[in-house]
């Protein structure tokens, strides 16, 4: 440090002294380590569950029932369909047409047609291909016309059309005749769970739980404990403005909370990245969301830290007010998770933190609505069971519900990046106003 004798260097020295004092004080408290230890344990436990889910294999489901043999003639439904034989008549099968045709292995007709839909975001329209030739019927030769191959009338033969309906806000499916999708459940599940976990864990685990509980336990007492210990006068009966005391106390807390969150987020990013599905060793793409989670959690502990510190300063029962606010935030967090477009959600801190994560997730994985629609399509798209008339699975694909419940489209009506900027600005404005009000109260506070 230089020996400059300006006012500002004086401010620096006081800031460093008071912040450093606060850090050391927190470090010596057992409660600090308890709270942070519980946080680490909870995060590790959830990560463990996630890794376990990611290493589990999901049983394949024959979504379009073409591996079944309804009529018991030995030829699976899929094979019969290619030869235009009746899947319900044991006396009508490809072997009768040509005795050299032997029954296929039914497992060939499971997971044979994965999702390969391309989203055209300008028209909100997607086109999926028929991978397994359900509608081409190559073995039947010229028996099918081009217009039959394009029964959904989109001008493309043997495809699935997916269109966003503005009327009911859902994806609508229309497939060409006979085109069934039979995706790989295992692949779908792991991808959906991977995304659902990052978004859900970021919003609930980090932004909500760490974001509220860390400041609740560690920041509420920043001023209050000094009052109760009768040691506050060591800080305020000094040539230092009380606003500075507030800010430097908060900085001391943040000097512990911010690296703590950073370490936990990095740890989670590593574990989830290595456990991610796909061929690559590590999913580097996720880091954008993890950065958003880190930023949102940091802003949460800054805002809640300032609020709870001021609550504690104002009254002996500030902790009670902090808990009441915490409950309010919890309720609005649930509302934000359920439907962020409800205006009431904006009357919370948590909303602005959560949509930072949503904004980053939208930037990194813009095709997630399609992924959800795909998972749902298996049970809701009536045209998919065109071949057999039945649906192989009674519900959406495994993982769809999890992804659907944590994924939220951005409520503010702006692009993800603008949404991100607005949220950060709102949260910073909250910190400034809380500290401004807090120091005004603190200045008029008698320290008996």
């Amino acid at each position: 440090m230089t020996e400059k004798k300006s006012r500002y260097s004086g401010v620096d020295k006081k800031a460093a002294a008071l912040t450093g004092f606060t850090i050391r004080q927190m470090r010596t408290k057992l409660s600090t380590w308890m709270v942070m230890g519980v946080g680490v344990l909870a995060i590790l436990m959830v990560l463990l569950f996630h890794v376990d889910a990611q290493t589990r294999t999901i049983e394949s489901i024959d979504n379009d029932l073409d591996s079944y043999d309804f009529d018991g003639d030995g030829y699976p439904n899929g094979q019969e369909a290619r030869w235009f034989t009746d899947i319900r008549d044991p006396n009508d099968h490809p072997g009768l047409l040509n005795s050299s045709i032997t029954p296929d292995d039914p497992s060939l007709y499971i997971n044979e047609d994965g999702f390969d839909w391309d989203l055209d975001s300008s028209t909100l329209q997607s086109v999926g291909k028929d991978d397994d030739g359900d509608c081409e019927y190559p073995e039947a030769g010229e028996m099918i016309t081009d217009s039959q191959k394009d029964s959904n009338g989109d001008g493309i033969a043997c495809n699935i059309q997916l269109r966003w309906s503005e009327i009911d806000g859902k994806w609508r499916f229309r497939s060409d005749s006979g085109v069934d999708e039979d995706p790989d459940e295992d692949e779908y599940f792991h991808e959906a769970m991977h995304r659902a976990f990052i978004i859900g864990f970021g919003k609930v685990g980090f932004v909500l739980l760490i974001g509220i509980f860390l400041p609740l336990f560690l920041a509420t007492g920043l001023i209050r404990q000094e009052m109760e210990n009768e040691t506050l006068h060591y800080l305020v009966s000094k040539p230092i403005h009380r606003a500075e005391v507030l800010i430097y106390r908060l900085l001391g807390f943040l000097a512990i909370a911010i690296p703590y969150i950073a370490i936990l987020v990095i740890l989670s990013a590593l574990v989830v990245g290595f456990a991610a599905p796909g061929d690559s060793f590590f999913r580097i793409q996720d880091l954008g969301i993890w950065l958003g989670i880190m930023l949102a959690s940091w802003l949460m502990v800054i805002v809640y830290g300032a609020i709870f510190m001021v609550f504690g300063m104002v009254h002996r029962f500030g902790m009670v007010a902090a808990i009441v606010l915490g409950v309010w935030e919890f309720v609005l967090a649930m509302i934000t998770l359920a439907d962020p477009s409800l205006f009431i959600a904006r009357l919370s801190v948590i909303f602005w933190g959560m949509i930072i994560v949503d904004a980053c997730a939208t930037m990194i994985y813009p095709d997630t609505p399609i992924l959800i629609a795909q998972g749902k399509s298996i049970s809701s798209g009536d045209d998919f069971s065109a071949l057999t008339g039945y649906i192989g699975s009674s519900g959406p694909l495994p993982g769809t519900e999890a992804l659907n419940s944590f994924w939220n489209s951005l409520p503010l009506g702006f692009s993800p990046f603008i949404t991100l900027l607005i949220s950060v600005f709102v949260l910073l404005a909250m910190v400034v106003s809380v500290l401004f009000i807090g120091q005004a109260i603190f200045k008029g506070k008698e320290i008996s």
Partner: protein
């Protein structure tokens, strides 16, 4: 948030030479129905002033007002010409030892003093240097690297005093600094306070024990139920008391022998034989009586082993000053 730099201490000239260190003008402070300080006006500059009063007399209220911890309900209060409630700038010239025994037990003595020294704007190195100086001044150098939690009561009081001295203050406020100390620590602290007064600083020391204050200073201020009862030289206050009957107890081998010599003295109002070995003299003129006693004793030839004033304590003084209604 940008701190209000106008309230940073040390940068602006706070006091002119003729501004009193402490100035109270009709200051009152009450807590709900309870009066803490009632219409007190004083001006103090330089030297050691003992603030005497029973528990609840308003000593701590006065000190908390001076340290900007609480705000007066009425009147004006100035430290070096500045209102300590409005501005924290006077605190760069003030050292405050609180009555509270609570400290940051997890810090070492040196950490404690130097950390808070840095709140005066000292750099880390300056703070350690100054802290070592004041810790030596209060005689704690050998334990300065031990945790405060392990300190004795006397050491805790002394480290609080060191903390208050680290910014080289012009005004030092000590709230009951001798409370709970053993005789040795008491003597050390008294010497420290006397030394500070001798250095020309303004020192306020509170106590509820008259003899303690008497050993430190002659300048006293008596508070009673929030009111300023007396301010001035202890002897002047004592002579005021001469108007009231006073007692002197002599411990001797022949009380009646010495009584014989005293009966004829005009200053004596009455004599009481408490026991075979003690005689209580009642007088209105305590000072004069004490002046004449040695001669009387010498003439009587009685062996006197002790002279004391059984009612020479704060309670008695307060009783006299308040007309027996204390």
């Amino acid at each position: 948030m940008i701190p209000d730099l106008s309230q940073q201490g040390g940068a602006e000239p706070v006091a002119q030479a003729d501004t009193p260190a402490i100035l109270l003008d009709h200051v009152s402070k009450w807590y709900g129905q309870v009066v803490g300080l009632n219409d007190v006006s004083i001006a103090i500059s330089g030297g050691v002033t003992g603030v005497l009063g029973m528990n609840g007399a308003g000593k701590s209220t006065l000190f908390k007002l001076l340290c900007g911890r609480i705000k007066p309900n009425q009147g004006t209060l100035r430290l070096f010409g500045v209102d300590p409630w409005e501005s924290t700038s006077p605190f760069s010239k003030i050292g405050y030892v609180s009555e509270s025994e609570r400290l940051h037990d997890w810090m070492t003595g040196l950490e404690f003093v130097s950390t808070f020294a840095r709140l005066h704007g000292l750099s880390r190195e300056e703070a350690v240097e100054q802290s070592e100086r004041v810790i030596e001044f209060v005689g704690l150098t050998d334990v300065m690297n031990k945790r405060i939690g392990k300190y004795s009561k006397g050491m805790r009081q002394r480290i609080k005093i060191a903390h208050a001295l680290v910014n080289d203050p012009q005004l030092i406020i000590l709230d009951e600094p001798l409370q709970g100390c053993d005789p040795l620590a008491r003597t050390t602290i008294m010497n420290v306070i006397r030394e500070l007064g001798a250095q020309g600083r303004t020192v306020l020391v509170s106590s509820h024990i008259l003899q303690e204050i008497e050993r430190i200073t002659e300048q006293i201020m008596i508070l009673h139920r929030g009111r300023l009862l007396a301010l001035g030289n202890l002897h002047a206050i004592r002579s005021m008391l001469d108007e009231h009957p006073h007692s002197i107890r002599l411990t001797c081998d022949n009380p009646r022998g010495i009584a014989h010599a005293l009966v004829e003295n005009d200053l004596v109002d009455g004599l009481v034989f408490e026991s075979d070995e003690s005689l209580v003299i009642r007088t209105h003129h305590l000072g004069d009586m004490h002046a004449q006693l040695p001669a009387v004793i010498h003439e009587s030839g009685v062996r006197v082993t002790g002279i004391d004033n059984p009612d020479d304590n704060l309670e008695s003084i307060l009783q006299y000053l308040t007309g027996g209604n204390s």
